[in-house]
C-alpha cells in the first residue's frame, strides 16, 4: 500500500484568515479515511484542495508521487460527492450519471456502465426519473453513482449524510462502507459527527484550528486521545489537571492514582482523562474520591449523573440508580485513566456544569454570539483585560 495522496506544508487562508497552517498528511491507497472536526477546523478546505477546487497558498499536493498543484479539477483522477448532492436539475437520472462519459465514450458503452452503476446503488428502473422528484436518500445514491462511474482512484465525500434522517443515515453508513470495500477505491470522508467517523473509518484524522490534532484508528483515537480537544470531541470525557509523580503514578484531586501510562518527566503537569462509563460508583467507605450528586438523568441505557468532586463537575454513567443530593464514593481502575500531555487546549474544555459553549455565554451582554451560538466578539468591560487572560481565568475555575 503506497502513499496515494500527499499534502506537504499546506497553508491556506481566506480573506486574511488562516484556515490551514503548515499541514502535512499522507493518505494510503484503498483506505477509508475520515477527516473529523468541528465546523471551521479546515476539514472541508482540505478536501477541496485535494479535489482541485481551491489552490494552496504554499505547499505541494502530490498524487501518486506527482505534483498536481497546477492540475485543474477536471483533469484530476479524483471525484466528489457534494454535501447537497449537486445533481443537475435539467437532466434526468440517466443523464446525470452518464455526464462524465458523454462525448468521451461510445453510446452503448455508456448505457452498460450506467446500468452497472444503477445496479450498484440499487436504483434500477430509475433511468428516466426527474432528479427533483427523488427522496434525499435516492438523490444521494445518484450522486454516488455519478461520481463512481469514472472509476476514480479517490472519492471525496463532503458530509454526504448530513441531510438524511437518523435511521437512513445509519443504513447509508453501512452501504458506503460496503461500496468502498467492494471497489477498493480510497474514500476521503469529511464529517463533524464523531459517531459516524468511529463506525465507518479505517483511519480518523482529527482536526481543529487548521491543524491535525491526531491521526489513528477509531480505537486508538477513542482510547488514547492525544490532547484535551480530541478527548472532549470524541465521546464524553472528564478532564482534570494532574501531575505525574513518576511512571504509572499520577496525582490529582488530592491523592495518587495507579495508571498504565508512562514516559513523562517527573512531576510533569498533565491532563488526565477518565471516560464517564469507566467510573465506578461505590459505597462511600470504599471510594477513592468522594462526590456529591447534583443532577440525575435517565437515558434508558444508563443513568447519567453529574457529580461535584472537589468543586469540579464530573459526568458518570452508571446503570445503578443514585439519588439527587446524595453523596457517593468513586472508584477508578488503573486502565480507566489516560494521561495526555498539556496542550493549547488544556484548561479550555472545562467541566460538566454545562454541555454547550453557548450556555456559558448566553446571559453575558458583553459577548456577541452568531445564530449558532458561537462567539463572534467579546467586549471587555474592564479595560486592559485581554481575551486570553479572561479565557485562562475561566478555565482555571
Amino acid at each position: 500500500m503506497n502513499k496515494l495522496i500527499e499534502l506537504k506544508g499546506i497553508t491556506k487562508s481566506f480573506d486574511g484568515e488562516v484556515v490551514l497552517s503548515d499541514m502535512n498528511l499522507y493518505i494510503r491507497d484503498r483506505e477509508f479515511v475520515t477527516l473529523l472536526g468541528p465546523s471551521g477546523c479546515g476539514k472541508t478546505t482540505t478536501l477541496r484542495l485535494i479535489g482541485g477546487f481551491e489552490t494552496p497558498d504554499c505547499g505541494d499536493i502530490l498524487f501518486d508521487g506527482e505534483r498536481i498543484n497546477d492540475v485543474p479539477a477536471y483533469k484530476r483522477q479524483v471525484n466528489t460527492v457534494f454535501q447537497r448532492y449537486a445533481l443537475f436539475p435539467h437532466l434526468n437520472v440517466f443523464d446525470n450519471i452518464a455526464f462524465a462519459l458523454k462525448h468521451k465514450v461510445p453510446k452503448d458503452e455508456i448505457k452498460s456502465r450506467v446500468d452497472e452503476m444503477l445496479n450498484m446503488v440499487a436504483l434500477r428502473g430509475f433511468e428516466h426519473r426527474n432528479v427533483n422528484s427523488l427522496s434525499g436518500g435516492q438523490q444521494q445514491r445518484v450522486a454516488i453513482a455519478r461520481a463512481l462511474i469514472n472509476r476514480p482512484r479517490v472519492l471525496l465525500l463532503d458530509e454526504p449524510l448530513g441531510a438524511l434522517d437518523l435511521k437512513l443515515r445509519k443504513d447509508m453508513q453501512f452501504e458506503l462502507k460496503n461500496i468502498q470495500q467492494a471497489t477498493g477505491i480510497t474514500f476521503i470522508y469529511v464529517t463533524h459527527d464523531q459517531e459516524e467517523a468511529l463506525s465507518m473509518s479505517d483511519t480518523i484524522v482529527v482536526m481543529q484550528n487548521g491543524k491535525i490534532q491526531q491521526i489513528g484508528t477509531p480505537t486508538d483515537v477513542y482510547n488514547e486521545p492525544k490532547n484535551a480537544f480530541v478527548a472532549d470531541f470524541i465521546g464524553e470525557s472528564n478532564i482534570v489537571d494532574g501531575v505525574m509523580r513518576e511512571d504509572r503514578k499520577v496525582f490529582f484531586d488530592g491523592r495518587v492514582f495507579d495508571c498504565l501510562d508512562g514516559g513523562f518527566e517527573k512531576n510533569e503537569p498533565v491532563d488526565v482523562v477518565i471516560r464517564p462509563e469507566d467510573v465506578d460508583v461505590v459505597p462511600l467507605d470504599r471510594g477513592m474520591l468522594r462526590g456529591h450528586v447534583t443532577k440525575v438523568t435517565f437515558k434508558g441505557v444508563h443513568y447519567e449523573i453529574i457529580v461535584d468532586v472537589n468543586g469540579f463537575m464530573w459526568m458518570i454513567q452508571t446503570t445503578d440508580y443514585v439519588g439527587v443530593d446524595s453523596d457517593i464514593g468513586i472508584y477508578i481502575e488503573p486502565d480507566a485513566i489516560h494521561i495526555m500531555k498539556k496542550s493549547e487546549f488544556s484548561g479550555t474544555i472545562g467541566d460538566y456544569s454545562s454541555f454547550s459553549d453557548e450556555m456559558d455565554e448566553i446571559s453575558n451582554p458583553d459577548v456577541e454570539l452568531d445564530e449558532h451560538g458561537n462567539v463572534i466578539e467579546r467586549f471587555d468591560s474592564d479595560a486592559g483585560d485581554s481575551d486570553s487572560d479572561k479565557a485562562a481565568e475561566e478555565g482555571e475555575r
Partner: protein, 282 residues
C-alpha cells in the same frame, strides 16, 4: 370587510379597463364620431390593412424589436455571468449602477442624452446623426439592464456546487458553461429576452428622438396620426395591439406555469402517481 375589498378591487379594475374597452368598441363604430355608436362595422380595420405606412411601421417595429432584444440578451447574459464571477465588489457595483442608469432615468432624459451623443459623434465623424443604427443602439442600451436584471437572480439561485460538480466530472470551464450553467439559467434568459422584446415594441420617445426621417415604428406612427385629426383607424390599430399583447401575456404565463410545474417536486410526484393509477387500471 371582505366584500368591501372585493368591490374596491373591481372598481379599480373597471377604472383601468374602461377607457380601453370603450376604444375597442369604437373601433367597430361605423361612423367616425365618438359621440354615438352608429352601427357595427369592420371598415376601419379594412382601412388599416390597406394603409401601407402602417404595414411598414409594423415591420420596422418587429425588425427593431427582434434585433435589439437578441443583441441585448447575448451581451447582457455574458455580462451577468461575468459579473457574478467578479471578485472585486466595487467593480461589480459600479458596472451594475451604470447599467441601471437608463432604467432609473425617465425615458425622455435617456432619449435626449442618446441624441446628444449621436449629434456630437455624427458631427465629428461626418455621418448621419440619426438612422436605423442609432435607434438600434438606443434600444439595445435600454434593454440591457432588464436582461441583466432577469438573468442575475437565476445565476444567484443556482447551486454553486453544480459548476464544481461539472468540473469534477471532467468538463473544462467552457464546457461547464454550455452544458450546465446555460441550461440552468435558461428561464432567466428567456424572460429577459421576452422583456426586452416587449419594451422595444412599446418604446416611444427614445425611438422618436433617435430615428431618422421617414422611419416609423408603430408607436411613432400612432403619434404622427394623433397629430392630425384622428381617424378611427387608430382605434382599430390600438385594439389589435391590445389583443396581441393579451394573447402573448397569457401564453407566457401558461408557459411559465408549465415550466415551474415540471420542476416542482410535489407536482411531479402527483403526476407520477396519476400515471401509476392509470397503468393499474389498464
Amino acid at each position: 370587510m371582505k366584500t368591501l375589498s372585493r368591490v374596491y378591487i373591481a372598481l379599480i379594475l373597471l377604472f383601468l379597463f374602461a377607457p380601453i374597452i370603450v376604444m375597442m368598441l369604437f373601433s367597430f363604430n361605423s361612423a367616425k364620431s365618438t359621440a354615438a355608436f352608429a352601427g357595427f362595422s369592420f371598415k376601419w380595420y379594412g382601412e388599416l390593412f390597406r394603409d401601407e405606412k402602417a404595414g411598414e411601421a409594423l415591420l420596422n417595429t418587429l425588425k427593431l424589436a427582434v434585433l435589439s432584444s437578441v443583441i441585448a440578451t447575448v451581451l447582457g447574459t455574458l455580462a451577468a455571468v461575468g459579473l457574478s464571477r467578479l471578485k472585486r465588489r466595487w467593480v461589480r457595483n459600479t458596472i451594475q449602477s451604470v447599467t441601471n442608469i437608463p432604467m432609473m432615468n425617465p425615458d425622455i432624459v435617456t432619449a435626449v442624452s442618446m441624441l446628444m451623443f449621436f449629434v456630437f459623434v455624427g458631427g465629428m465623424l461626418g455621418i448621419a446623426t440619426r438612422s436605423f443604427m442609432t435607434v438600434l443602439i438606443a434600444h439595445v442600451t435600454f434593454n440591457l439592464p432588464y436582461v441583466i436584471l432577469s438573468v442575475t437572480p437565476k445565476i444567484r439561485q443556482m447551486d454553486k456546487h453544480l459548476l464544481e460538480a461539472a468540473q469534477d466530472l471532467g468538463c473544462t470551464p467552457i464546457e461547464t458553461f454550455f452544458r450546465v450553467e446555460l441550461p440552468v439559467i435558461l428561464p432567466g434568459i428567456l424572460s429577459g429576452l421576452l422583456m426586452a422584446f416587449t419594451l422595444s415594441i412599446d418604446d416611444f420617445i427614445i425611438t422618436q428622438f433617435t430615428k431618422g426621417e421617414g422611419f416609423y415604428t408603430l408607436p411613432t406612427y400612432i403619434y404622427s396620426m394623433t397629430k392630425r385629426s384622428v381617424s378611427p383607424k387608430m382605434y382599430a390599430l390600438s385594439t389589435l395591439i391590445f389583443l396581441v399583447i393579451l394573447v402573448l401575456l397569457i401564453l407566457s404565463n401558461v408557459l411559465q406555469a408549465q415550466m415551474d410545474a415540471r420542476r416542482d417536486p410535489k407536482k411531479i410526484a402527483a403526476r407520477a402517481l396519476k400515471k401509476k393509477k392509470k397503468m393499474k387500471e389498464n
